[in-house]
């Protein structure tokens, strides 16, 4: 290939070498992470699939009713029943547990990083381009090293999902904390509160609506990534959609896709309801 006289920069080789080094030296770590994640996903999936499907559907409908309204409860009941009768239930619960575990880990890592970024300008400027990179890199690319490190299955799916959905958790946490009125923080300081008390009693509660918007974004991104992860054997609805694509089975692909949409609507409405509650409390 014509390089216009420029030397070939072997970026790919370097990354390969780095990945090789990691697989050679950190196998114990990857194995540990792998065991932990697959246990978590497996446990949640088993718990969701243990009772009869309709019982779980009714339970979800109850959550919808309690968190939002009877209308949403009714919608949940009907739409989840549809998933069951499309015989997508097992795949949907598998996907749901993957999304929940990935989101939980993402938030557990992303929110503290966001807090750090809000308190430290240096860290904030360092982390910004990293987040941009994570968000704009085509998401398929994460799957490759994830397979190398964790093999085929659910775990690489979870890991790729975590990397892909991390940015909004960090960004919106930082934004939320920085948006807290300076005078309110000073009022905390002026009465002798320690930085950790100011953080937990003032800043985080006041930033909660924004943080919750971040959590909502994380879950949505996770859901979109989880379908892609179906390609690498993460199973669930992703596998259904992928099978539909490879067999040119429009019906199967659509049923899988519709189930994803139903899950997305449910998760989005539930998490945004939590966010609205938080903002009602802080803006009063």
């Amino acid at each position: 290939m014509d390089l216009n006289g420029l030397p070939r920069v072997p970026v790919g080789d370097w990354v390969d070498a780095g990945v090789d080094w990691l697989t050679d030296n950190l196998t114990w770590l990857f194995d540990g992470v792998s065991a932990f994640m697959s246990a978590l996903v497996g446990w949640l999936e088993a718990a969701l699939l243990f009772p009869p499907a309709l019982v779980v559907v009714v339970a979800f409908a109850a959550i919808g009713l309690l968190v939002r309204s009877w209308k949403f409860g009714l919608f949940t009941l009907a739409s989840f029943a549809l998933i069951v009768s499309m015989s997508m239930w097992e795949a949907a619960m598998s996907t749901l547990s993957l999304v929940l575990v990935a989101s939980l880990i993402t938030v557990a890592i992303g929110v503290p990083f966001g807090i750090l970024a809000a308190r430290n300008n240096g860290f904030s400027t360092f982390v910004r381009p990293v987040l941009d990179f994570m968000q704009t890199m085509p998401s398929f690319v994460y799957l490759i090293p994830a397979i190398v490190f964790f093999g085929i299955g659910k775990v690489p799916g979870v890991v790729a999902t975590i990397v892909f959905s991390m940015p909004p958790a960090v960004r919106l946490t930082e934004l939320g904390l920085r948006q807290v009125d300076k005078e309110v923080v000073e009022a905390g300081e002026a009465f002798g509160a320690s930085p950790s008390r100011i953080l937990t009693r003032i800043q985080v509660p006041l930033a909660l609506p924004t943080i919750m918007a971040g959590v909502n974004q994380v879950i949505m991104l996770a859901l979109s990534m989880v379908v892609i992860a179906g390609i690498v054997g993460a199973g669930g609805l992703g596998a259904m959609v992928f099978r539909g694509v490879t067999r040119l089975d429009v019906g199967l692909g659509f049923e899988g896709g519709l189930s994803v949409v139903i899950l997305a609507i449910f998760l989005d409405r539930i998490t945004s309801a939590f966010g609205e509650r938080a903002s009602k409390r802080t803006s009063r």
Partner: protein, 433 residues
């Protein structure tokens, strides 16, 4: 002032923001102007060489326009903005040397603060807001509640404790801010433009409430404002700031009457003098007086000599007994009465030396006589209506004090309204002859 204990001593405090603060500081100390320093270094010189002392129980006002550094200066007092250099002594201890932990203790126990935009916690109830300082001090829940409720009651917010700040009006929100500051029993109160965000009517109310509270609480208050009238109304002493420097410190009257430079003079030009100057600054020596034991005949003689139609009756030691009017004196002389007592009316409106001129207007308008200024029962001066009007018109109490005296009006002591009374005085003269 020297024999008083100083609650706060600030010595050569500088606060420079920015990376090259050291260079900026050096340049400032070498006497470079602020603008030049800021341009050369890119630093922001918010406070330059501020020194002042605040006595215990004093309301010390720091006044200046926005950007003058006053809000930064007040934040150096509790180290929310630690000074770049200089000492801040609270009760004799230089707090810039305290450990973070000791500093937090000081903020919890000794210095509290009220903010311009209230700085309330919107996610906590009014009571929980008022409890904040006590919660930080780790008081047991029951004590916290009791003390916070006391503070809320003090500021007139009883019954609102379970509301959220967002449900309250601006004035009430700032009362919550005040209650939060008072609940910790801190001796020092920093008030950063505490009333500036309120509308004028509520602001006036809050100022009055603060003055009222201060009479019983006797806190040391550092009050920041850009409003000169507010500064003059509240401040025992006022520091005027411009471009980061304190340009003058003095009482309201000192600043009004002896402005340190053109800036202060221009600043005070628009001030409402009637709300700053007091009776003592315009009152005159009482001349139309008579001792109570002298009797009606002597009274009539004095009136004729001094050409007045009324006399203030005093005891030895100048204790004001009342006022005797010319027609009553005349009748007493006719009927052969020997004592002034039956004709002395004790129903005289009096004012004290520290009554504001604004508060003299109504009594002065309602009375035919010059207003007697009474200090602890003693007649220390009188204010004829012309004197008061002239003081308000010219704005120079010094000029007024001798102005009316020149044309004899002050001595006459007769307000214009009593002019129709002069024929009576003539009658009285006839009678006595």
């Amino acid at each position: 002032m020297n024999d008083m204990t100083h609650a706060i001593e600030v010595e050569n405090v500088y606060k420079v923001f920015g990376r090259k603060s050291d260079t900026a500081l050096k340049m400032l100390r070498e006497g470079h102007a602020r603008d030049a320093v800021e341009e050369a270094t890119g630093a922001v010189c918010a406070v330059i060489d501020a020194s002042f002392r605040v006595a215990e129980g004093e309301i010390f006002v720091i006044m200046g326009l926005s950007g003058s550094g006053k809000s930064t200066l007040v934040r150096t007092l509790n180290l929310i903005h630690p000074p770049t250099t200089g000492a801040v002594r609270i009760g004799g201890t230089d707090i810039t040397t305290l450990s973070p932990r000791r500093l937090r203790e000081l903020r919890t126990s000794t210095i509290s603060m009220v903010f311009q935009h209230f700085g309330l916690f919107p996610h906590r109830t009014v009571l929980q807001n008022a409890e904040w300082g006590l919660e930080v001090a780790q008081l047991p829940a029951e004590q916290r509640r009791v003390k916070a409720m006391e503070a809320l009651e003090l500021v007139g917010l009883k019954g609102w404790e379970d509301s959220y700040p967002g449900e309250l009006s601006g004035g009430m929100q700032q009362r919550v801010g005040l209650a939060r500051a008072l609940s910790t029993d801190a001796d020092i109160l920093l008030m950063d433009e505490a009333f500036s965000a309120l509308d004028p009517l509520i602001r006036g109310e809050m100022q009055e409430q603060l003055v009222e509270l201060q009479q019983t609480l006797k806190k040391t208050i550092v009050f920041i404002t850009h409003d000169l009238n507010e500064a003059m109304y509240l401040g025992d002493r006022i520091a005027v700031m411009k471009d980061g420097r304190i340009v003058q410190i003095g009482s309201a009257e000192e600043i009004l009457q002896e402005p340190a430079n053109d800036y202060v003079e221009a600043f005070v030009q628009d001030v409402d003098r009637s709300r700053v100057l007091t009776a003592s600054s315009v009152m005159e020596e009482p001349i139309a007086t008579i001792l109570r034991r002298e009797g009606p005949k002597a009274a009539l003689r004095t009136m004729r000599q001094r050409q007045v139609s009324a006399l203030f009756v005093v005891d030895p030691g100048r204790r004001l007994v009342g006022v005797a009017l010319d027609d009553d004196v005349m009748k007493a002389v006719r009927s052969g009465e020997h004592s002034l007592d039956p004709i002395t009316s004790s129903e005289v409106p009096t004012v004290t030396p520290d009554t504001l001129l604004a508060d003299l207007l109504v009594p002065s308008a309602e009375s035919r006589l010059p207003l007697p200024v009474v200090d602890d029962g003693k007649l220390v001066g009188v204010i004829p209506r012309v004197t008061l009007l002239a003081a308000l018109a010219t704005g120079s109490p010094n000029g007024v004090a001798d102005g009316p005296a020149d044309d004899g009006l002050a001595e006459n002591g007769t307000p214009p309204a009593t002019v129709p009374g002069s024929p009576e005085s003539a009658d009285a003269e006839e009678v006595s002859e």
